[in-house]
Structure formats: C-alpha cells, structure tokens
Symmetry: C2
Subunit: 403 residues, 2 copies
C-alpha cells in the first residue's frame, strides 16, 4: 500500500490501471490495495474517462488532508515549525526569531514546544491525524539515544531534546489525548530529505549545503540520505579550509562554516552598527534586506556575496572530487541569495574539480531555502504512514473524528 501511496504523492492522480503498471503490481492486487487505502481515508476513487469509448477507468487521487506530519527546527537565530499533509501541502507554519546563544536550552525548548502546540491545534482544527513530530537541530544528533550530543553554535552538549519536548507538550496539552511520537534529527539531514526527488537522476547522488549561522550538510547516495555507519554523516561545516582563519564554535580554526555561515556574510557585508545586525530581526527580514541591496548592485554586498560564494565553492570542490554528485544544492539561507552565490561556486568547481567539466555536477538553488529543514522534518514524520498506511490505525486521533 505504501508503494501506491508514494506513487500517488510523487506522480499525482491516475487510473488504477496505470498505477498497477507503474508499481509492477497485478491489476487485481492494485485494486484491492486501493480499496484498503480508500477505507483508511487516504485516497479517493472517481470514474475517469467517462467520455471514452472503452470501459471507464477508475481514477485514484491522494486525500492528503486526513494525515499530517510536523517538522520543527532549532537554529541559533530562529525556531520554525511546519505541519504538512500527505500531499505535501502546508496546514500550519510558524517562525520565531530567537537569540539561541543567550537563551538557555530550557528557554529555547519551551519556545519550541509552544510553537508545536500551536501546530497541533491547527492540525486538530483541520481534522488531520498527526503522524509524528520531528525536531531538527543545528548540531550533532546521536540517532541511537535521540540526544543532541553537541551543537557548537548553540553551545549545547548532551541535551535530550526529544524527551524534553515530549514532557513540555504533555504539560501544555489541553486534552487527554495521547501525543504523537517525537524524534530528533540533524537539521541538514532533514533539509536533504526535502530536496529528494525520485524523478530526477541528478538528485540520486547529491550534496546538500544548508546555510544558517553555521553550515550544515547532508550526502544523498543512491536516492537516500546517507546516515553513515552510526548516523553522524554530513558534518561538513568543520572542513578545514582556512588555516590562518578565524576561531570556530567547535574550538578549532578556519572551519568552512566560519567563512560561509550567515555570521560570516553579515560581517563581510555590513558594519557593526548596520540595522541588519539587530538580533530582533528574523532571518526573512535580514535576507530580504540583503537581496534588496544585491539587486541595487550595492558594491559591498556584492563583494561579500562573491567572497562567500568563492569559499562555498572551495569546500564544495572537496565534496565533488570525493563524491561526484549529480547536484550540489544551495539550501538554507544560501537559496535566497543563490542568484549571486552560484556563479562564484561554479567558477571554483570548474577550477578545483579534477574531472572534466566539474565532473558534470550542477549547482542548484533550493526551492525551499530556510524552510527545507522543517519541510524535511514533516516528511520524515509522515514516513511511517507511507511505509505502512495501516499504522494509521495505531495513531492517536487528535481530531477525535472518524477517518
């Protein structure tokens, strides 16, 4: 059933016959599974091809709204939460600027739990069962213990984010209904999940560069986000690129993120008293201001973007030489400024990649930008339903209605 559900999500509505053909199932088996999915309220069937001369086909359509996944993100300067339904449409979305280095972990998590509670309420109003909550953190996440081991830019060590959020959500709950499962993951890993596209061969092997205050990364290999042996893959922010460079949050010198993170861009593009540096500003406002200055061809802004783009390409070349990805995706804050960053990235790749024509790797700008991680979190939360739609029956029904 999961196979059919994924096919409908990724390819849109189509006839039972075509679904069977594309998934390699017999027509009888496919029809039976479609009936089961319809009973679960996940698909609807309608007579298509009524005007045709042949026998009418039944067109199957995903009913996205009945289930949703929640993605949340803890970053140094902002929190974000999104609820996506099964079809990928937004049910609820919240963002909040914070100063993560001044707030305690408890303070940050309390704010986050508030946003998630709001999203749960909106899902309930929309009549959607929440399949799960996935929290992305800009740091090392121990996937086995579900703890945040180290988040250098937040100054966090060994924080049990999932357990903490669970407790806060339970305390804030206004009903006695059980909570959906809560898990924690690295935010760039989640961002990469949002960038996956099974229809694009250039994205089956992919490097996702997720720009925030620091730099997150994820490696996609053979169409899946590669976790590595113990789930620690993607720590590219601390690639040494500038031995004579600045001190990094990790304690070392000249890490890649010190020269491409948002902090580096703001320092290169603005003076200390520039209003853009006001910690009360949220990421969107900052990026909008930078985009405006770049459009007006402000010399300092363009020079700073050229410099960041060159450093971005210098590090990306290491990954392209190692992995020969089909695509390097500029995600996170890089996406908003991608138009000005990409030429410098491409120039560095052309110069530093040994294979001809930069190994055929193309540089793409994320369509999601800073929302990629929360979108990915929501998609990961929906995974259990896509893998086994019958699991829905075991989920707490937040809306109390029938499916």
């Amino acid at each position: 059933m999961g196979l059919l559900l994924r096919a409908l999500r990724d390819g849109g509505p189509r006839s039972r016959g075509r679904l069977a053909e594309e998934t390699g199932l017999t027509r009888t088996v496919a029809a039976g599974l479609v009936d089961e999915l319809a009973e679960l309220g996940l698909v609807s069937c309608e007579d298509a091809d009524r005007r045709g001369a042949g026998r009418p086909g039944v067109k199957v359509r995903l009913v996205g709204r009945s289930v949703c996944g929640i993605g949340a993100e803890i970053n140094v300067d902002h929190l974000a939460v999104v609820a996506l339904d099964l079809a990928g449409s937004v049910i609820a979305e919240f963002r909040l600027g914070i100063d993560g280095r001044r707030l305690s972990p408890e303070g940050v998590l309390a704010e986050l739990a508030g946003l998630v509670t709001d999203a749960l309420a909106e899902a309930r109003t929309a009549g959607a069962t929440v399949a799960g909550i996935t929290v992305g953190v800009a740091g090392l996440v121990d996937t086995a213990t579900q703890r945040v081991t180290l988040a250098p830019n937040l100054g966090w060590r060994e924080i049990d984010v999932a357990e903490d959020v669970r407790g806060r959500l339970a305390a804030m709950a206004t009903t006695a209904e059980p909570l959906p499962p809560v898990q924690v993951a690295n935010e760039a890993t989640l961002a990469a999940t949002a960038e996956l596209d099974p229809t694009d061969a250039d994205r089956a092997d992919m490097v996702v560069l997720y720009g925030e205050v620091g730099l997150g990364g994820a490696i996609v290999s053979g169409g899946r986000v590669a976790p590595g042996r113990h789930g620690w893959a993607g720590e590219i922010g601390h690639l040494p690129v500038d031995p004579r460079g600045r001190l990094c949050g990790c304690g070392r010198t000249g890490c890649w993120e010190t020269v491409v993170g948002l902090r580096a861009l703001l320092e290169a593009a603005t003076d200390p008293d520039d209003p853009i540096r006001d910690p009360a500003l949220n990421l969107e406002e900052r990026l909008a201001t930078l985009v405006e200055r770049a459009r007006l061809a402000d010399g300092r802004t363009l020079a700073a973007l050229g410099e960041i783009g060159t450093w971005l390409g210098t590090g990306a070349a290491v990954l392209v030489n190692t992995l020969n990805p089909g695509t390097v995706v500029l995600s996170g804050y890089f996406a908003a400024l991608g138009e000005w960053l990409r030429p410098a990235v491409e120039a560095r790749l052309a110069a530093d990649v040994l294979a001809p024509r930069a190994g055929g790797t193309r540089v793409a700008i994320s369509a999601f930008g800073p929302t990629a991680a929360v979108r990915g979190g929501a998609l990961v939360s929906l995974e259990p339903v896509l893998s086994d739609p019958t699991a829905l029956a075991d989920l707490p029904e937040l809306h109390g209605g029938s499916r």
Copy 2:
C-alpha cells in the same frame, strides 16, 4: 542462479536445503537452479550427512576453477596482473617494476599486454574460461567512453586504454579464439571492490585509501562502491591539506597525495642516494626494506611514518566527518606499513572528528595491500558470470575444452 553462486562463494559449501533457506528460494526452485549450475560446471553436488539418521542432504560446492577473471593495474612504478577463479583463488599473478613517467603510454601498454597474454596462457593451461579483463589505472577514467581522461602522476591525458590493450592482445594472440571483453576502471575503485565484505556491517559504509606513488580513494555506501553521478567519485588525492606545501602532479599546491603518497614517504624517510630510491627496485622490495627499518626502530623511518600517518589522519578526518564510515581501510602501500601508520591516523581522527569517539569509525589494515586493485579488477571481471551464470555460454572458450 547468480544469487546461489554468490552465496556459495561468500559462505562456502552447504546443503541445498540451507542454500534455499538463506537465499529465500523454495527448495524446489533452489534444487532446479543447482542442477543448472552443475550443468554449467560451476558447482558440484555430493551426498552429505551420510551418517545421519534423516534423509541425506545434498551438499553443494562451488567449482571455482572452471572460470576466471583477470585484473590488471597500471601504476606509476609498477604493473600487475592477476587471474582469480570464481572462488577467489589465484590462478596466475605477475608484477613488473616500471618507470611510468619515462615510458610512453604505448611502452607501458605494450608491457601490460605482455603480462596479460601470459595470464591468458596460464588460464588456458588451467582449463579456465576467462570471463573478462579489467584494467585499473591510477587516474581519472571516463566510464562512459572507457578512456583514461587524466592520470597526473603518469602524465597521461585522453588515452584509450581498453581499445589499445584489446588491439595488442589480438596482435599477440597465438590462436584464432576470440578475446574476452576488456574494460578500464579507476584502480582505487577496483581496490575497494576487493575490500567489500557483505558479512561485515562496518564495511557497508567504508572509505578505502589506496596508497601508491599518489593516493587513490573510493567511497563505499550501502554495501556498494559509489561511482557518483558520472563515475568520477573518489578523487580524494587532491584534497587541499597544506596550502604552503609542495607542487602536485595536477598543477596545484599542497594536495593530500603530495604528503602521503609513496614519493612523500621515500623523501621523508631516505636520502637521495639511499639504494631504496633506485627506480629498478619493485614496490615489494622497497616496502620490505622500510618494514625492516621500522622493525629495527630506525629513528628516521619511524619519524617519517608518524608524519605520513598524521597527514593521512588529517585528510581522513574530513572524509569521516562527511561520511561517518564504519571503516577506513588503509590499502595499497599503506597496508604493509599499517602497523606504524594506524596509531597516528587514529590519533588525528580522535582529535579532528566532531562526533564522539571519532564517530565510531574504525581504522582497518587491508589484507591485500598493493594487490587490492588487481584482485578487485579480477572480481569485477567475474561479475557478469555471478550476475547471470548462463552468460558463460556466450564467452569465448580459451581452453577449447568442454565445461
């Protein structure tokens, strides 16, 4: 059938019943396939469990000798060829020291074709059908066109190795029999194939460092050697690690291979007039001398190995942070000196990898060392037979006998 053949190769002889169980086939299907394999001469069946009280099981055993694959390697200071049978046993093996930078590509390829012709003759004598010939080159190989695009340490550009070797083998052939297929690949990619072990979870995600005059590399992800989008993955030798370092064969400065390649070790460990630098010496002799000096605790040798090991760890940490492999394998020349290199590599990983305990990545010493690439080439040559044993019928029968 390929499934059964692989199971027999990787797990040794066993009863038809156990084979069926382990491969998930029904007993009837498995028995039928075993009969077909026996007809092809690839397995033998014998009554096992004769002394048991129950009905006798039939024990199935791989008959390795009837088929072999040939692997060849073109490196800067040596050529090598090996013929392995289906069970992985050596049928023939040749090595030849060369000065690849003085010889023309034609001169090198003529020597190589000579060695391959000798291996073909030995396979014929052994009564084995040669499934294919795979030539590994220390350089960038365009897998689509099967040309060597760039081999910086050999000084080669755009050489059609497969076509050239095919022509030379045909010219040297003493019989009118058709030649087995010839293909070309990157040597470190082949070395990684030899290091694969489906029974070891720590090798499903793996980084193979193949030390030669330069440094080759390959990334294993999800149990397979990851080629990247266009087959250029694994070019780790040109990772920039030492901006104030020495000029590399690729034209840039401070590439990883300039500080860890065999050339760097020889320069650090020996004086220019040291007999070990004699170009007439082959790799084994050089390594044997270095091992002897290290065993005798020669100060200069140990200091050089410590320095190389530290640089090896510095670059490896970048890959471990990015990929979190279960294993980093020291292969090629590193394997012979692994005992002295590994402690420094592990120390750098512990210091430079962000995840706790170096992300759980272990450092392993290859059991094959400098023969990993030719072994991998032979295994790759055997792949078509393992994927579809009936393909054997289409292969030229070099030995002219019956199978």
